[in-house]
């Protein structure tokens, strides 16, 4: 009987330990989140959205140029990365098969694990050096490289869920394969594909490392795509490590805006994913 009591005691002990570990994991994460909201909310103002950063020593200023720059970088990266991801996935799901497709799938998974700073170095070597200058274009390309594997893998999975009968029905009506793929297969997987796209955008909107030596950052408004451009994550980075209280406040406000954006994107993606499962 004591043996059983001992085992039960051990069971309770381990259960308690696992619950404690869960708390230990959640508490710092939640503390960080609360701190961002508190600091961000107390220092955010209208100026933050309408002004560009002031020089050191002056108070006030905002991150308007960073927000516009980030939006532009994300839009450009999406324009480059999403078509590659989606059509690459179409090949893997609709035409692929065999070893080569396996190799592509595998390299997409591996590519997703490559540190983002390396994509920045590659974009630097391929675009910044030949174009002789840091540019928004190079930054967008670096971000697109990060988007591609995410969009590709999620889209492929969604395409595989589309029933074959749907494709056959369309083909039997005499619709060519390419139209069937675009109008029937991709169309019915659209919700899932959107989920992948949103997740990819959420991922790149906070990326800093690949922009350090491609988009570089800009104190002012960038005028051309071939010039350095400001981006919010870059501004948060440089303001956080600067020794000025005022800049720290801007960094917290920026963090709050960025986190709000990311949570909105992730929650929308989740909602889309869930409503799809119900259908």
């Amino acid at each position: 009987m004591t043996q059983l009591t001992l085992r039960k005691l051990k069971n309770s002990g381990m259960t308690l330990a696992m619950a404690a570990a869960t708390l230990a994991v959640l508490i710092p994460l939640i503390l960080i989140f609360i701190h961002i909201v508190r600091m961000g909310a107390s220092s955010i103002s209208l100026d933050f959205f309408t002004q560009i950063p002031r020089p050191t020593g002056e108070t006030g200023g905002g991150m308007a140029n960073g927000m516009v720059g980030s939006a532009l970088l994300i839009a450009l990266a999406s324009a480059f990365g999403i078509p590659v991801g989606i059509f690459g996935a179409v090949y893997l799901a609709e035409f692929g098969g065999g070893r080569l497709s396996g190799a592509i799938r595998f390299s997409a998974d591996i590519l997703a694990g490559v540190p983002s700073i390396i994509t920045g170095m590659v974009a630097y070597a391929l675009l910044v050096v030949p174009m002789k200058g840091f540019s928004a274009l190079a930054g967008a390309c670096a971000l697109a490289l990060i988007m591609i594997p995410i969009v590709l893998r999620t889209t492929e999975e969604q395409l595989k869920l589309v029933p074959t009968t749907l494709r056959e029905a369309s083909l039997a009506l005499g619709v060519p394969l390419w139209r069937t793929t675009l109008k029937v297969t991709l169309h019915s997987a659209m919700k899932g594909v959107m989920t992948g796209i949103l997740l990819a955008i959420a991922r790149i909107s906070g990326e800093t490392a690949p922009l350090l030596f491609t988009a570089l950052g800009n104190q002012f408004w960038g005028k051309k795509l071939t010039e350095p451009i400001a981006a919010m994550p870059l501004q948060i980075f440089s303001f956080a490590i600067a020794p000025y209280e005022d800049w720290h406040r801007l960094a917290w406000s920026g963090a709050l805006v960025l986190v709000t954006l990311m949570f909105t994107l992730s929650l929308t993606a989740r909602y889309l994913g869930r409503s799809k499962q119900k259908n």
Binding site: V84, G85, G88, A209
Partner: protein, 332 residues
């Protein structure tokens, strides 16, 4: 004896047949072009990976030629004299990631077990979504919190405490700077826990219900069921999750750069500032003036790429072997 009308019909039929053939050809042509285009995009992924390797290798060639194998064990890093060695960065990367993983692994596995085996389904789901949501916070924001909140706190409380109580050990010697190896280990731990937890959770969900039921039917307590039926089944998948976390930790740039202190030295003390491979690239790459400096940084990038590639390939193999199997059931 063909009449004019029959002839007309014949011509019309031939015409129709040719027209049909032409339409089919056009259709097939469209399909071929479409297939070709999608294939091009798919192969782009393979090409990008190869391009990364080729570009980094090519750009780091000047440094390879100048320093050869001495680059890896070299301790000097002097941009003015053009002397470069990677050892302090390798040391910083290895120590920070391995220690962070050592702390994060038990916490993550325990949390994943709590989510899948112990908590009521709703609570478990809530914790899982919370963890996943927090995993989406960008690295620069963890860094912001790390440098403005955590590092000062470490400097005020944790580091003096460690130095006072355990100062006789070489690991806790020196002045408390706040920004240090210890800060990097903590921030990395906080960042990789959500990743390892959510992948481990997925792995644990593949454990077959029957296996768990068998353990319980033999009279096992819940912990004994976990130890004998769940963990052995998920072993390689959990290892895959941990290794994937290691890959993230090694490549993590912004948060570490902001809290590690950026000093290229090899010190046993966790209280001392250090430097990692991604951090030195982040800090120096845009400002590198000499060719050999850029090239040395490229070679650091190449080493980093090789390390993360090896880690990720290993993790993918381990995870594939699990997730390819059947989906299991829920909790008992």
């Amino acid at each position: 004896m063909s009449t004019a009308s029959e002839e007309k019909l014949e011509i019309a039929l031939t015409h129709e047949a040719e027209n049909h053939k032409w339409r089919m050809d056009k259709k097939a042509g469209g399909d071929a072009a479409f297939k070709g285009m999608t294939a091009l995009f798919a192969f782009a992924v393979l090409a990008i990976l190869l391009l990364m390797l080729v570009e980094l290798a090519g750009e780091s060639f000047p440094a390879m030629r100048k320093f050869g194998w001495r680059f890896v064990p070299g301790k000097e890093w002097d941009a003015v004299q053009g002397l470069f060695g990677a050892l302090p960065y390798l040391w910083g990367s290895v120590v920070s990631s391995v220690l962070a993983l050592a702390l994060a692994t038990p916490l993550s596995v325990a949390t994943a077990l709590f989510i899948t085996e112990i908590a009521p389904k709703k609570v478990g789901g809530l914790i899982a979504s919370l963890v996943e949501l927090l995993a989406a916070i960008p690295s620069v924001i963890y860094g912001l919190w790390g440098v403005l909140v955590m590092a000062p706190w470490l400097q005020r409380t944790v580091q003096p405490f460690l130095a006072e109580k355990f100062g006789f050990l070489p690991f806790f010697q020196g002045a408390p700077y706040g920004v240090s190896m210890l800060a990097a280990v903590f921030i990395l731990m906080i960042m990789v826990v959500p990743i390892i937890t959510s992948i481990t959770k997925e792995v644990l969900l593949t454990v077959p219900q029957s296996q768990k039921e068998a353990a319980v039917a033999l009279g096992a307590t819940r912990w004994e069921m976990i130890r004998m039926a769940v963990l052995p089944y998920g072993k390689s998948g959990i290892l895959g999750a941990v290794i994937l976390g290691l890959g993230r930790a090694v490549g993590e740039t912004m948060a570490v750069t902001m809290v590690i202190g950026n000093t290229p030295q090899i010190s046993l003390s966790l209280l001392a500032p250090a430097y990692t491979m991604p951090s030195v690239i982040a800090n120096e790459f845009a400002e590198a003036t000499s060719k050999i400096h850029t090239s040395a940084l490229m070679e650091i990038g190449l080493i980093l790429l090789f390390v993360t590639l090896a880690i990720n390939i290993l993790a993918q193999f381990l995870l594939w072997s699990v997730t390819r199997g059947q989906k299991g059931g829920g909790r008992i």
